[in-house]
Amino acid sequence: MRPVNAIATVGRAARLLVEVLRFSITDALSGRLPVGELVNQAWLLYKVTALPAVLMAIPFGGMVAVQISGLINQVGANSLVGAASGVGIVRQGAPITAGLLMGGAAASAIASDLGARAIRDELDALRVMGVDPVRHLIVPRFLALIVLAPILCAVIIASSVVASFLLSLNVSDVAPGTYWSSFGAFAKMVDVWFAIGKAVVFGAIVGIVSSLRGMEAKGGPRGVADAVSASVVLNVTGILFANLVITQVETMFFPMRVA
């Protein structure tokens, strides 16, 4: 029964989320959080995502600047290029790019690691020894993603805004002051907070989905590879739909205003 299975998977994911949150809070309060492992994981995930983040952010910023300035120059309002870059990059481009990198690169690192442990029955061995794999393996990875998400988002915002600024300066002949004043008029601090919040939500989705898929891997090497594929595609779809929902919430409660 396919629909029943799908609902069961959602249920297991929800239970995993609750468990992860419970352990994160209680262990943080009692000071038993595996901080060393958390820092290790965060550094590992940062290493696999930071360079591609910059490499994706620069062309994205450039693309936004080129397309928007072409359209806006036509109606003679090229002071609005900064505004459009602000909206395009800060509100949508940066959090989605961060999410895709976490959902692609970080997710495969997590799912292949946990999946290999699952097919070698290491997770069962841990359980036999009275060590909860959720508490000792998944919580540090989940928290590492939560720590990583804002950093990645900030890296992407910075590099793609710089790229779009340089391009509109040199190609579309926008004055630097004009760019920044219209950028500031449209992009607010609220947008940056929402971008970071979005990235954190995406990080949480990625953490839960890839850990669940990795832990449930079975059937040898092919099982690990399938777990990775499944977690990547689930992450990408989940991230884009979560983005839709958060964007709608943002425009409902913080409608855009010109300063």
């Binding site: 692609g104 495969s108 040898g220 779809t237 884009l240 739909f241």
Partner: protein, 291 residues
């Protein structure tokens, strides 16, 4: 310092020589990787006619598998359902953002312009590339990678089939056959969602919206955007097959190859998008307002 047979002192390397050697080794490895990629891509392309001639049935099988998967929607599914799902997400996102930005200036109905330009030129091709990477790509790395470490690729060769056209070529052709119909579905879904949101949720004037939407949706742009999606899909399939074909290191190795492939293909899709935007529309795209 001893003397060599010729009576001259031995050349003693300085302490920094190790750094030079390490750098050289690293550069060598980089160059080897580049060479491997070039040879791989060249072989796949050169042997494409062979794929068409000999492995037609396998190509069709691959195409059906890539399009529909094992019949579920997302996990183990095909690329078509993911393309439709992402089309819905992207259409909704563009509608919300464009309306929110333009409506403060009282140009709400101009969302039609953003809908036809941003969706058609950038967003839809980008999500098509991402969908291919996430669904088809990771599946290919998984399949080919586990074939490699289970020595099935060597077995294919032993059976007298040429592994590159049989394993990679069929997937490339099969994937590209899904692009045009799948991409059309994404584009149509995103247009439909956009239209629905703007007219029914925001109660925009339908005629004004339609006017601007249709005015900026030129046939040339549609062809270019399909071209973009095709190039992205081809690049993504090549990258994922490459990482799968040369996977090593057991079960974890295949998973890690998948991760590296996704990273490489996301960067490739973004970079190709920027390059193709400039090639197709120029550094300063011009738009004609006909009134």
């Amino acid at each position: 310092m001893g003397l060599s047979a010729t009576g001259l002192p031995h050349a003693v390397p300085t302490a920094n020589f190790g750094v030079v050697l390490r750098l050289r080794r690293r550069l060598d490895r980089r160059l080897q990787t580049v060479g491997q990629i070039v040879v791989f891509v060249a072989q796949v392309l050169y042997l494409l006619p062979l794929t068409f001639r000999r492995y037609r049935r396998e190509t069709l099988d691959r195409m059906i598998d890539l399009a529909w998967g094992r019949g579920s929607l997302i996990v183990d599914g095909g690329v078509i359902s993911v393309l439709i799902a992402l089309g819905i997400a992207i259409g909704g996102m563009v509608a919300i953002e464009a309306w929110a930005t333009l409506n403060i200036m009282g140009f709400g109905a101009l969302t039609g312009i953003i809908g036809s330009l941003a969706n058609n030129r950038e967003m839809a091709p980008l999500v098509a590339g991402i969908a291919f990477a996430a669904q088809c790509g990771t599946r290919m790395t998984a399949e080919i990678g586990s074939m490699r470490i289970a020595e099935e690729i060597d077995a294919v060769e032993a059976m007298g089939l040429r592994p590159i056209p049989f394993v990679v070529g069929t997937r490339l052709v099969g994937g590209l056959l899904c692009v045009a119909p799948g991409y059309a579905l994404t584009l149509l879904t995103s247009f439909f969602v956009l239209d629905f949101v703007v007219r029914n949720f925001y109660h925009a004037a339908g005629g004004t919206y339609q006017h601007y939407f249709v005015e900026f949706l030129t046939p040339a742009d549609l062809v270019y955007s399909t071209l973009k999606a095709t190039v992205f899909a081809a690049a993504v399939i090549m990258i994922h097959c490459y990482y799968g074909y040369f996977a090593s290191g057991g079960p974890v190795g295949v998973g890690q190859a998948s991760g590296r492939a996704v990273r490489a293909s996301l960067v490739a899709v973004m970079t190709l998008d920027f390059v193709m935007t400039i090639i197709l529309w120029g550094l300063k795209p011009t738009f004609l307002f006909k009134g």
